[in-house]
Amino acid sequence: MTYRERTRAIDAAARHWDGPYRPYDLIKEATIAVTIVGLIAVTLAILFSSPDEAPTTIRSWSRQNPVDFVSTAMGELDGTSTTAEYGPPYDHGPKAQHLAFIHLQSWLGIAHPINTAQDYVLGPLAALPGQPALRSALATYRRAGSARQLAWDHAYERALTKVADSATAIRAVHGPNLGPVPTLMDSLLSFAQGGGLDGALLANRQFYSTDYTKILMLLADGGALASRARAEHLLGNQWGMMNETGSFPGQGWLWLYTMWYQIKPFSTSPNADIMVMAVMFVLSLGFVLVPFLPGVRDLPRLVPVYRLIWREHYRSTRP
């Protein structure tokens, strides 16, 4: 008898049960389990509480690292920031991920449009009341051609690399080749340091503002969020997906997702996200199809852990 015939005979024999039956109270079992887990959860909450980190806001970031904030704002203005080049769902940036012919990110389209120059710099500044100097600078910048704008932007960015990390040093950056950019950036920095930019980016048509996308994307383009994440081991290349802030345990069950980001080719690929998604899709498909995979479906027979769990039953049926 071949192995396949033998296992088929075992399967056929298992379809009919001649042994004894015993009552099983599922409701009682579930009640006991939920009660015990609930008590454990409440006890752990009393003992350890939950993570309580102070939030990073644009206000706190622009006060602590004004040069980083203004440099990031310049990236938004000249279209070189990560968000500006991200692609869908935010913009038409060139860095949309793909895997061979699968351009999933582009196919899903721009669902949450962000025009970085308008949304992060020009729009919030235009909404500020009064300030004739700012209004004039905005008009000058908008009137100029894109080549002229880029020349001002790059000259200001070069000047910014030479100043100390303070608002006073930034406000001292001026020059004939910088056009209206210093006035724009000085106003934006003051607005951000006062907390106004946080509110301006959160404002929407709904009564309750819960869409933090624009704020988070701006913070992510800068260095403040990344440096906090690095300190807490939360970056993608630090197995961050399964970590939590402080000494709290994190999402250990995400170990397989985050593991791929630590090894090549995923760790060095600009298309890492879609590659990891594809690998996990194939593995998940394999998991769903376990009953149909020869060898894998025979593991319970080959490694009979069930006999250890139901050892009393198998002991009683032994001849």
């Binding site: 004894p20 015993r22 009393i46 003992l47 350890f48 509480s49 993570p51 309580d52 980190e53 300190a231 807490e232 081991h233 630090q238 197995w239 399964m242 970590n243 939590e244 802030t245 402080g246 000494s247 709290f248 345990p249 994190g250 250990g252 630590q262 090894i263 852990v305 250890l308 769990i309 009393e312 009683s316």
Partner: protein, 54 residues
């Protein structure tokens, strides 16, 4: 607002093994999961002895 009895807001320790970088709190939870799994395997079912063999 109540403070936690045991404060876990300090920085965690990390275990490095090759490319693996695992936080000590995660390691404790993973070990605890294995321990619970092993106990579930070897602990007798409650009430079995009372009911006797059927």
């Amino acid at each position: 607002m109540f403070a936690a009895i045991i404060n876990l807001n300090g920085h965690a320790g990390y275990v490095h093994w090759g490319f693996i970088d695992l936080s000590v709190p995660n390691l404790i939870v993973i070990v605890a999961m294995f321990v619970v799994f092993l106990i579930a395997l070897v602990a007798p079912f409650p009430g079995h002895r009372r009911r006797g063999r059927s």
